[in-house]
């Protein structure tokens, strides 16, 4: 295989890609020109399908397939760009938004043309005010250059973009909650079916795509599906940005060829652990994912390899915990997150999240019991898989995985009636 060449992050940190001229000088909008002048919408959908691009927002659904579900019934179609990145440990879309906004715009226009959506909504997380302002300026520049609006580049394709700012709610990253939010309602996920492809925004056929997914599209147009599908595992190929954070030497966003090992990502890209530390646990796919451990480091960083390890690539938030980390405290932090972000519609998520948060909080405070440990060991079965959306299913995976791997650490919190790490931060693993 040829040496991997980053494309999504190319120029970031070296060039001012938020300047339209700089973006164009480095090949920007060439894919748009090719798509609009040389390709039919069907050909673009075909190319994206053939590339095996899978959604980068978390679920990993094949993008071409998602596009092809739209009914051909003449109703107006919507494309929504999901820039509501809030999965703990994930910060790639936030970077793309601030540092290469035209790549998102180019991906959006090509994708809208491909699915014949004349209405596009860009939903930007409320906390990303700086990113919102950068993107707004970029839109004005793209508009002035004739890339938005009527008859784009003489193609006859017309597209209007609505820029929409969120107001603080993790759940709005779930696609149907996002549609509710754009409609001016509480961000509560919808019961599916009907799926957004049939009844999405304002009841119309809708596709929701993640920022990074859309940023892949121009490169697939320029270099072809064959180039994309040759990077990494054939069923989940491509370049992928992984957000590495936690106890590593060099936290940051790294663009990798899908499928490299967790070890390579940790050691070659992120500079490894800090001197003298030992690895304890890694969340490979954001706050919702089950942990992997020292013995799992050969696993491939891609959708299917991580799923085979009973965890997930998710949104690509790779959070590293070394031997100083109290896993009860880490679990408490994550469970509290989901408790806080639950929309409250489904009982297992709303009540379960609160119960688990209380139990883990008790344990960490030294007030937990053996019975709490027993309940935490089995409660997964009554919370996971019983909710409308994946949020409820995200409460338990990390906690369950570290409780199984380090039961003695949880037990120690009960036996010592407190957190051993607060007394002796030097924990020796295994």
């Amino acid at each position: 295989m040829a040496a991997f060449e980053p494309v999504l992050t190319k120029g970031i940190g070296e060039l001012d890609l938020a300047d339209i001229d700089v973006y164009k000088q480095h090949g920007g909008f060439s894919a748009l020109e090719k798509a609009l002048k040389e390709m039919t919408p069907e050909a673009i959908v075909g190319e994206v399908s053939a590339s095996n691009l899978r959604g980068r927002g978390g679920a990993g659904f094949p993008t071409g397939k998602k596009w092809s579900f739209l009914p051909k019934d003449g109703r107006p179609r919507y494309l929504v760009c999901n820039c509501d990145e809030a999965e703990p440990g994930t910060f790639k879309d936030h970077m793309l938004l601030r540092l290469t906004p035209f790549a998102i715009i180019e991906g959006l226009i090509i994708s809208a043309y491909a699915i014949n959506a004349s209405h596009v909504v860009m939903y930007i997380r409320g906390e990303f005010l700086e990113g919102y302002r950068i993107f707004k300026r970029a839109l004005a520049a793209a508009s002035a250059a004739g890339y938005l609006g009527k008859d784009i580049m003489g193609s006859g394709f017309t597209m209007e973009l609505i820029l929409h700012r969120g107001a603080g709610a993790y759940i709005c990253g779930e696609e149907t909650a996002m549609l509710e939010s754009i409609e001016g309602k509480r961000g509560e996920p919808r019961l599916k079916p009907p799926f957004p492809a049939n009844a999405g925004l304002y009841g119309m056929p809708t596709v929701v795509n993640n920022v990074e997914t859309l940023c892949c599209v121009p490169h697939i147009i320029n270099r072809g599906a064959g180039w994309f599908s040759a990077i990494g595992p054939p069923k989940c190929p491509g370049p992928k940005i992984i957000s590495v954070s936690g106890n590593v030497a060099n936290p940051g966003n790294y663009e990798i060829p899908m499928g490299i090992s967790a070890r390579e990502l940790l050691e070659e890209y992120a500079g490894g652990l800090l001197p003298g530390r030992r690895l304890k646990a890694i969340q490979p796919g954001g706050g919702s994912s089950a942990a992997i451990f020292e013995e799992d480091l050969n696993v491939g960083i891609d959708f299917d390899s991580l799923a085979a390890k009973k965890t997930m690539l998710g949104s690509g938030g790779f959070v590293v915990m070394d031997d100083r980390t109290c896993l009860v405290r880490a679990s408490q932090t994550l469970v509290r997150f989901f408790e806080h972000e639950s929309c409250g519609q489904c009982t297992p998520c709303r009540e379960g999240g609160q119960w688990v948060a209380r139990m883990v909080g008790r344990l960490e405070a030294g007030e937990g019991s053996v019975n709490d440990l027993r309940v935490l060991g089995v409660i997964n079965n009554t919370i996971t898989g019983t909710n409308l959306c994946p949020l409820g299913d995200s409460i338990m995976p990390f906690l369950s995985s570290v409780l199984r791997r380090f039961p003695e650490e949880f037990a120690a919190h009960v036996q010592q009636a407190g957190c051993p790490f607060q007394k002796a931060p030097e924990f020796s693993a295994a």
Binding site: E85, A86, E87, P88, G89, T90, F91, D93, H94, H119, R125, G126, E127, F128, L129, E130, Y132, R133, K136, I162, H164, R165, G166, A167, G168, A169, Y170, S181, I182, E183, G184, K185, R186, G187, Y202, S243, V244, S245, G246, N247, P251, G252, N253, Q283, G287, G317, V319, V320, M321, T325, R329, A330, T333, L334, F337, H340, E341, C343
Partner: protein, 164 residues
């Protein structure tokens, strides 16, 4: 509704195929002006979008960046989620609480500062992080916090929560 607010509301409604879509942007605009989502804003938003004030309140209550009570001129939001926790968010939290003399969610008696602990801000490579009036501050040590706080104490920001 004030004429200015009516004008802004009409602009927002015109942006969307459906009036209710303008609800949250409108509340953001009201908050920019009033410092929070006031009772007047709730009534104005109901009038603008054709839903009841109770519905507006329910919707507003869903979103963490819409404040239902007056907040300080300076809103400090410290991230408390895992990646920040692994790199000193607990220490930053304790320090910020102590310096401000505020618990999570409190506003100072003089109405100058509001302190909140919030969830992942998507800046995990530069942890611990915080937002001050939605502006990011990265790799914040307790010493950085003190330096910033001195600056904030001397400042009177025109807008706390900008709508755009």
């Amino acid at each position: 509704m004030t004429p200015e607010r009516e004008r802004r509301g009409a602009q927002l409604v015109a942006k969307y195929p459906n009036a209710q879509s303008a609800l949250i942007p409108f509340l953001q605009a009201c908050q920019e002006e009033d410092g929070y989502v006031s009772g007047d804003a709730i009534r104005d938003a109901a009038e603008l979008t054709g839903i009841t004030p109770a519905e507006v309140e329910s919707i507003a209550s869903f979103y963490s960046l819409l404040f239902k009570e007056p907040v300080g001129k300076h809103v400090i939001q410290v991230c408390r989620t895992l990646s920040c926790m692994l790199r000193g968010a607990d220490e930053l939290r304790d320090h910020a609480r102590m310096r401000l003399g505020l618990a999570n969610g409190e506003t100072s008696a003089d109405g100058r500062f509001t302190y909140e602990e919030v969830e992942c801000l998507a800046a995990c490579d530069r942890a611990p992080c915080l937002q001050h009036n939605l502006e990011f501050h990265y790799d914040v040590t307790p010493e950085d916090f003190d330096r910033q706080l001195e600056r904030w104490r001397a400042e009177e920001p025109a807008v706390t929560m900008p709508a755009e």
